[in-house]
Symmetry: D2
Subunit: 338 residues, 4 copies
């Protein structure tokens, strides 16, 4: 584990000279992320924008037929306040914000969507669902239980639904970097990086049969950040479905962005009690006991996303130059072995 | 970290009373996997079959037009022996076994596929690609370099290509469990578990817009196993694209299987030098210095897959019973907090 | 072109002895669909349920950065009534019912969702979008136009978004068929058909890297129906992303369903003026001039879906028997050539 | 139906002043495709490259367990010549060129891949599979039949497998167009068109949860072409999974390409005996009775692809200009109604 940086963030989080801890076996990751952070700091900082947040659990019920399913779903959706009352009893932080459903034959996939304060919210959502199910079964007696989790949530599995309907924090990171800084820090040009991004992140992911994914190695940065901050790192499966977008601006600068539509983090919950985790959360300014619920975890999400952004920017720059990637690996892994 | 079991494996790996280490913050995972292992052991053991193994790196080149791309690709594919000679110089373990490509306009996505001995092989494949690129550029002078990695590999990103063309080990785990054992150990019936599997793993994943994925939480087991055995845990992104298949046999028993078509593990390489990792690899019988190259890592892959199998079997069983999942979480997390 | 049946529908459409016209070169399709219709009629009819309906067009705008995008989107969503007023001017049938968006870097993908009366609504939605864009650009002067269609609609292309957020009619068809009728009409058993459905429609589609698709050949039936009723047949691309669900009931009967979450049809618009189209719409009872707007097209959607259901049921039954499929093709194509 | 053009093709097909028939209700399609053809002709013609061709059928078998499945598959793959002998008896044109498989639990998805002469080859492949199955069941007596079609083929359904392993013809179309011609014919600039392509075709398709698709409306052109040339138009489902790639060249020109990796066409077979179809095939030069088997259908595939290319180029150009799309629709549909 090592803290890398310094990061400068602007937008929904304002921070300067932030050092970000990452735990990894892949040692070249540290200098790579640090390089991205450095050039972005010189360019004015990484703009972070939080678009949405929610945690979900889908339940699975069976109706006598789809006609009854449709009728009951319509009724259930109209009784939001009653369901919220049930959810409130399960946790003072959980708030039901929306529902979505799919009907397949006589099966109902009902996706319950919550705000969960500073927790990533898996257990809070499961617990709330566990209370809502008996209520539904009592109110609509011709429905029967199939499962408390229907994979339409979906947890730790690749999907399109988490990006389209939302799960976790939806964070966009952006920075515009001059050609001069591109050359000095990243050893590349705006045009070369954009060109590679299009052919690798976009077209390469499409031919690979990717799904809502267009990045180089977001999973690496999320894993390092998650392990250092006590997150359930299995959430990198969905979190890594991130989309880069880059272009050369009319002024010849590099606009680079990484969008993480379903980034799951929490500043409280399982794993957060460990000493190193607590220290890391404090280092990041995400353990403020006086903050409103949700503020710490939103800040944490923005920092996680910015870390991914830096790693993407730096690796893409490296791959524009033949041989650079392998040389960096050889040099850095030798250094760390010594 | 805790070692769970005991596991009994048959088929391509034969082992009994194997204890498997898993590192996780999600403490209910341990007893859940252990329950799956226990019932499978009573049922005769988990049959593991290794279908395929390879590590890949795709390179990205640009031709003047697709006609030239097609002509050169045809030529390159015919010169397998020359490329293998180059690969051999990069590593004594790396062996080029196959190539596949896609042409998009004038772009070439050339996927190089290797055997890499006991290593997971990321660096070995990158290194080999780094040697092959200059050779191609010298032999086919109208091609130009775009990237050493084209996302058609694909590394740590969701895709269809890794399942269809292979990346990592392709392992199938199976077991047939009598109705009696289902009831005794899993508190469910074969019919109830199969019914849930179909509606959740299969249909639920399809409506979620999943891609080559049909499981409940394979990512959790892989993460725990990877952290305990010094793997690069970011590979759970692709590894978790696993497919369960279950049915009630003519005799009324439960046939249950978990297929992991792209499971990336290595018994040597980065992270394997740490003391706890070494001990865990020895515990698993995957650090035999006298074994042929590849034997240790294939065994490791089979054990990783069996761990995923047990977690799947146990969680699906739990979800057939309303309320059981949440009660288990509450009880076990309380226990571990005390 | 041939009219096949007779169909019996119950639920959201009630009809008996309905003959359905289909135009196809694949002549075995007619008797196959007719067989499905016949067995379903004997079993009490096909229950059709319409879950949702909407037509969409997504527009693409660019903001200075994501922070401004988020702020403006929040404002735009709050001004639903103003947008509806603009939409009303573009058409008396178009009604804006919802919006959804994605932000990628500084790009805005804004999905406008409409009710469009009896028209499939492509042009109506495009026209409405064409009016909304200038209003947005005038009200939010730092946004700029990129495209009137952003592929987040999405029209005639495979996607997950059309199933998850809806596009066209969402129709479920169901029928429960006794074992006796399965054997008599379909030459198979409930268990054999369900078994095949699971291994082919569900698992087979998953290993093929399918996306929100689990059927055998829905595209065939939709094409035949679309050509006969003057639809834009290119919409079979998205319409064919249909999901079958089948199970053996506790009584040993076959429950079979086909769910079409994004089935695009219209009873008015381009192509509907041709004589044979008009006759076919009248034959189907979908040209009632006294009906409320939307009634004719909803009926048409339910019949289209029922046609797909019958073809699925019949083909799956045929494939349970080795050799039957090929023999049917040989026999029927010879007949039609004579 | 109308013939549009003139087309000029170079590369694997050389033709000039070719008129291409298209049948559609969407009348603006004709002038749109014609505009694309015209500008490409002025720019030197559309370069067409045929990368691959094959037709597939996957069969579904069940083994006692995956270990036996793996063993038998290894044996089956080694007996290519024996299988080819069987295939030869089923048709003098069918040639088994490759096999691929997936094992899921104890299930075998075996994809048989054929050359099929000038036919699209669905029936030829099914017929060959129908002969291979009894041979496999006789040689490997512990395998049992599940289905003659396993959805791993996959026919008329969205998938990743058809693009990655191939099905139908794999055709690339390319053209480099000067800025002057872009402005004169397409009313746009290379930069504007490339910019739109990236944000709509690439990123828009990714956020929509698309799968191996990056185009605007390829389905429209394929449908029109298929209906005019007697193809089974349901194959537009897979054929429309096409990928555009465009960039501004160092000289400031527009490089534009459309890649269709799984385009299914035939110049013989069902539907080809109709008078208008025969005339159209002759018009296109795809009914040459003296040509080697496969030549006519490969030419047909290249022309179909070029038609899609022209429609893509023209529509993208139109969408770069606010309002142009809707105005064109209004103007052209009014014209055709008069």
């Amino acid at each position: 584990m090592q803290a890398v940086g310094p990061f400068k963030l602007i937008g929904d989080v304002n921070a300067d000279d932030l050092m970000v801890p990452m735990a990894t076996y892949e040692t070249p990751l540290w200098p790579s992320v640090a390089r991205g952070a450095r050039v972005a700091k010189h360019a004015g900082g990484i703009r972070v924008t939080l678009i949405d947040e929610r945690m979900t659990r889908s339940i699975l019920l069976q109706a006598p037929h789809a006609g009854i399913a449709a009728k009951h779903l319509s009724s259930i959706e109209s009784r939001h306040a009653e369901m919220q009352a049930i959810v409130s009893e399960s946790s003072r932080f959980a708030k039901l914000i929306d529902t979505h459903y799919q009907v397949v034959g006589n099966l109902i996939y009902l996706r319950l969507e919550f705000h969960t304060g500073d927790a990533s919210g898996h257990n809070m959502a499961t617990n709330a669902a566990d209370k809502i199910i008996p209520w539904i079964l009592a109110e609509y007696t011709d429905l029967r239980y199939v499962s408390i989790s229907a994979n339409y949530c979906t947890d730790k599995k690749v999907s399109a639904v988490n990006g389209i309907l939302g799960r976790g924090k939806y964070v966009v990171c952006e920075c515009t970097i001059s050609e001069k800084y591109c050359k000095r820090f990243l050893k590349t040009t705006p045009q070369a990086l954009v060109d590679l991004h299009i052919k690798k992140d976009l077209i390469g992911s499409i031919v690979a049969g990717g799904l809502r994914t267009a990045n180089a190695h977001v999973a690496n940065m999320l894993l390092g950040f998650y392990l250092a901050t006590g997150q359930d790192a299995a959430n990198i499966v969905e979190g890594s479905q991130a989309i880069n977008h880059a272009e050369v601006t009319p002024d010849g600068d590099l606009y680079f962005s990484t969008t993480l539509p379903n980034l799951i983090v929490g500043s409280v919950g399982n794993g957060k009690g460990l000493d190193f985790v607590r220290q890391n959360l404090e280092l990041l300014g995400c353990a403020d006991p006086t903050a409103e619920p949700g503020v710490n975890s939103r800040r944490l999400a923005c920092i996680a996303a910015a870390t991914a952004f830096c790693g993407e920017l730096s690796l893409l720059a490296a791959q524009t130059n033949p041989g650079e990637l392998m040389q960096a690996h050889i040099k850095l892994e030798r250094t760390h072995k010594n």
